[in-house]
Symmetry: D2
Subunit: 412 residues, 4 copies
Amino acid sequence: MDFRRWDDIREDLTALYRDLHAHPELSFQEHRTAAEVARRLGELGLEVTTGVGGTGVVGVLRNGAGPTVLLRADFDALPVEERTGLDYASTERATASDGSDVPVMHACGHDMHVTCLIGALDLLVSARASWSGTVLAVFQPAEEIGAGARAMLDDGLLERFPRPDVCLGQHVFPFQSGFVGMMRGPSMSAADSLKITMFGRGGHGSQPQNAVDPVVMASATVLRLQTVVSREVAGDDTAVVTVGSIRAGTQGNIIPDRAELLVNVRSFDERVRERVLAAIRRIVRAEAVASGADREPEFEQLNRFPLLVNDPDATDRTASALRAALGEHAVLDLPPAMASEDVGLFGTEAGVPTCYWFFGGTDPGRFQKALAEDSVARSIPANHSPHFAPEIEPTLTTGVKALVTATLTWLT
Amino acid sequence: MDFRRWDDIREDLTALYRDLHAHPELSFQEHRTAAEVARRLGELGLEVTTGVGGTGVVGVLRNGAGPTVLLRADFDALPVEERTGLDYASTERATASDGSDVPVMHACGHDMHVTCLIGALDLLVSARASWSGTVLAVFQPAEEIGAGARAMLDDGLLERFPRPDVCLGQHVFPFQSGFVGMMRGPSMSAADSLKITMFGRGGHGSQPQNAVDPVVMASATVLRLQTVVSREVAGDDTAVVTVGSIRAGTQGNIIPDRAELLVNVRSFDERVRERVLAAIRRIVRAEAVASGADREPEFEQLNRFPLLVNDPDATDRTASALRAALGEHAVLDLPPAMASEDVGLFGTEAGVPTCYWFFGGTDPGRFQKALAEDSVARSIPANHSPHFAPEIEPTLTTGVKALVTATLTWLT
Amino acid sequence: MDFRRWDDIREDLTALYRDLHAHPELSFQEHRTAAEVARRLGELGLEVTTGVGGTGVVGVLRNGAGPTVLLRADFDALPVEERTGLDYASTERATASDGSDVPVMHACGHDMHVTCLIGALDLLVSARASWSGTVLAVFQPAEEIGAGARAMLDDGLLERFPRPDVCLGQHVFPFQSGFVGMMRGPSMSAADSLKITMFGRGGHGSQPQNAVDPVVMASATVLRLQTVVSREVAGDDTAVVTVGSIRAGTQGNIIPDRAELLVNVRSFDERVRERVLAAIRRIVRAEAVASGADREPEFEQLNRFPLLVNDPDATDRTASALRAALGEHAVLDLPPAMASEDVGLFGTEAGVPTCYWFFGGTDPGRFQKALAEDSVARSIPANHSPHFAPEIEPTLTTGVKALVTATLTWLT
Amino acid sequence: MDFRRWDDIREDLTALYRDLHAHPELSFQEHRTAAEVARRLGELGLEVTTGVGGTGVVGVLRNGAGPTVLLRADFDALPVEERTGLDYASTERATASDGSDVPVMHACGHDMHVTCLIGALDLLVSARASWSGTVLAVFQPAEEIGAGARAMLDDGLLERFPRPDVCLGQHVFPFQSGFVGMMRGPSMSAADSLKITMFGRGGHGSQPQNAVDPVVMASATVLRLQTVVSREVAGDDTAVVTVGSIRAGTQGNIIPDRAELLVNVRSFDERVRERVLAAIRRIVRAEAVASGADREPEFEQLNRFPLLVNDPDATDRTASALRAALGEHAVLDLPPAMASEDVGLFGTEAGVPTCYWFFGGTDPGRFQKALAEDSVARSIPANHSPHFAPEIEPTLTTGVKALVTATLTWLT
């Protein structure tokens, strides 16, 4: 593959990245992003369909006989207030699904994913003489809430468009820019998000004997939930249970009537997952009883990310190609990640292999310094941090090359 | 005292009560209420001063030689959403001190206190031939946040107006309407409200090892705070420690960087109070250390209500007069209450006796039924409940008569 | 009353006290003590019955017409290892009811109670010309486990011996020797002792996922039990819930299959008591469920002490007599005590008044110094401490005089 | 290798196994066992040294030039009460190191290890014509407390006897008898056992305000320790923290002055281990502060097992030989085990490879049934269970053959 065309378009794509970064949109609200994507796909000559699964955009690049490769980029942002200090930092706000006004930031790099895929499509269009087959470009909404892949599939993605033979995708991650990282087999954790409401009985703060205190109830529950991982998951199994939010009451002298917990569960094994979820329910219910609650707690599944399994053969094949294109040492073998993604649904539902990789986003000098100081976890802002800001280069170039290279592995 | 005039004004005052109830205002925002009070005091011929300690109103009724009796009514409301279903229920909202938009309700009966005092002043004006001395009517803002009495005193209440010889006041309470209840000696608890902020280190919900989880930290703290009362306060001492609010995080999969607790402490003894407050600080700090926090917790005293001590002699004298006026059985001896009030500051600061009593607000039939079913605590809405709604009569009549009678005890 | 005889017998009784102190016996094992008591009662000419309610001893001193006064002294000791350093300190050991070998100590002063009652009986015998009626001397076993009074009553105490008209008794306490303290009305708390066994499922310490960990279960229960007092007992009610013992496991690397809690509950009101006991059961059961226990916890009531109510009239009458005999300032009015006693059962069962008082056991100089330093609670060893050691004088003299004086109040 | 001799000695060794099983001895008390071992080694013609590292026995079998293979069998038992119901079950009791009288049981199969090694030595002696080199038979005391290997090394094992070129050993485990299981690389967890003493201030159960309650302190600590694994160990790292024992107090109504925790920590990585141990110390100290303790907690390291790392090459070589001897399917690849062993110290200290494997002890029919019912963890008694009882055959035969085969891999 000849990457000279890249030099011609890099500046334009850098501008696109900065523009997307400055204008992040929440899950299922990606109207501006979708319009920009559709416009550019149209300019590249793809068949473009918008509104797939809400705000999703699908582009089809047909180029003769051959397999169909699904390339996926997610494009939603997060309710995080950007503190990167970049000149293209976001100052956007939006209305969250609960009606509240929140800041918005591309704190997970989906702007980079979109830019890389647009760039890769441009190169593939330019080089169409050198390959044959079909590229199915999937710009997915609402990855952050685990709902976008499901929505696109439910909206007929596999029926309305060429059926893929393999699903490829990538995610920017806080390791050294210029490198890609491959995972083989079970690669990214399943994730379940639950909203748990526990009911007490409100009252005056000075009369606890006439109330059932949901603050104590919820606090005892949070402590007890720590035992799920410490006592019910084997040391050599993997699970994480995080109560990311606890909310009850508004004043010190009023005992509120309920408390709300938001719980996130990560797992790599369906049996472990089921045991953990059952233990959470058991503990929550028992702690309500311990407090003398009059009413059963309520559980709401907010979202569910599937386990991502990278097909070993597809991964080996992709890794070989990336090694040839990026250099032997630029391709890392990574262990499974405790992060979650809904990208796996496409391949699972289509019954075809998935290969999904990470590409580094951290300035090489900064990363090497942090490594030397053993401070990576502390000093390199990770995804979802208000300070998360991929170095544009060589991140963008690497992401574009990786996508093109991986695609051509299947189409030449 | 001849209460026939009462029949002439009762209808008007009932309308005033309904109007005040429908238009509650938060602490230090009582502009409409203050204007209405000032207007009526002016009509009654009192010397009126507004803006005392923010929104407070002082009326002076001079009637010859004799002692000065301070009569106090508080007039602020609460950020509670009214659910009484009354035709004069509040639908007001206001901006709280933290900038949030909140519902407002007279959920503690201060509208009744204002109405009774206006009525009592009208009767005292009408009957001025039968007594001599001075009545100092104090309409106090911001009782709910323990700040109004302090503000009025700091604004020169004792210097700018006739200095009281005794301080009287009353509060409507969820016992049988038509009755008053007297407490002798230490009568209403001291109350301290604290805001505690505990600092963790935020991170991704799947990477707790790189974070310090403030949800766990705060939950462990709440449980440990239960030991203050259970282990550090003697069985025969009195203290209540309530964590009325716990707040941390917004999503299940993000570990937040801090948690906030609102704590309310009730006590009847300065040594117990100090031990409890010291224990809270010790536990909060130690639990932060246990979690590996990088930063010390922060403590902010939101408000502080003093212990209310009813002067025994003044109380006995008032009780006798009330028995004569309302009937022997209508005056109850009550034990100290776990509620708090800043009314005691006036007498303490002036160095004169205080007598503060409760008057019932619950429909007699309903109250007797609840008594018979042993369900008072469960079935009668207490102060601060969204269902708190005094029966207008005989509550209003009783409150007016009690105020007039008690005042004349000192002025005839 | 002429107390000159006291000078003749004091030395002998001091020797008796030292001997009893050096030879303490556990509840229902007081064979040596009972034999010595019986021998001395016989020498004084009383009708003596041994083996009443196990090891109890009853002496009857008939002296003509008149009322019958029951005088009660308890005589069992505690499984505490004495650390007083006294030359007559106990080095005894005994087999506890659970089969274990334990140290034994008169750490609650029952040796003093016995000595005082023997001394008082001697004086009453010597002075029989000056009074008439009957003295029923009750030497009770097993007060420490709340079982001895019940056992003597069940063994026919009220039927086999003269029926009392009043029940008197006294207890040495860590206030100034030479003083007595009177309580009126509800005076000593009810106490319930429970043994709670919680069942987990044992396993290897490295495989918690295959076990149900009773150490975590019991620990969570202990923390949750703190909420009974902090949240379910009103601030102005009185209750204490103490988990005095927690036991589970023998090694770090084996998860045991059960945990045992010993819980003690103090209360002054039957409704509070019932609510507390119900809350304990509710919490223990719910925490077992939270842990996923296969088996319900078990509850065993180890003992139960009744509330002690001092008859107001009998107390006033006794207090007046003691003031006359010991000095106006030597008789203190004490608030109710959080300690418990089964002495009240005698009067309750007989339907006659009880008057039970405390007498000081601490060296006056030491006590005044501690008072001045505000260190009484910390520096004066209390009952049940391994350092508890009443100063023999003036404690013994005061106890004897108090008993004789109180008795004669009813018999002259 | 010709195993026909095995048929001649099997009956005798079965009798030896039964005898050892019936006469278990605690760590460093293995006098009877050591004597029996020494006697038999002497009969086989080995050079025998007793008292190595306390009760250890070393036998040297020299057979010409060649490498030295260290074969290790541990021989101590556990303070567990046997409930197998076997006719050769132990009824032994012994005095534990804390002076208590405890039951003793070979609940970890060391009796089987000894028997297999004696059997293997017999076969090696018989077949000395077919191999050359030296066998160093190490019968190690006190494996259960992680002290025996250390003691033998400190007593000059590597200096006083032929220096090994490889260290081999095996452990019976609750999988199917007839099978062996190999682990490669980090194979058995490091284990640290700590005794933690937390100090409160004792007092009467009714006066918690004058005490510092160590039961609450220790219980809060146990709950907080659950957060070490749930919050401070990454989901994909491995650690187990078990509080196997909590002990405080003897009675419900006495607040004790201290509590004791026995904690066991498993880890596979020195950084994780250090973080976990530091977190435990931090939490214990902070919880003491939270309780207002006057005295710092005390930490005592009871024992420490090193991480066992099986040399990959040595393991592959041994596995191949075992496959040839026992059948292709009888050799399993096992994942790392959460169990711990001090066997690794020999190789680590000598700087030579270690290969340590498991051999199954469960009756094949029973195991297959449990597998089919998915009840292995629940229905097959594991090591340290009072029901742990290896099926003698084919366990014994497999263990002997495995040892001989592995040894000859290095000596032929």
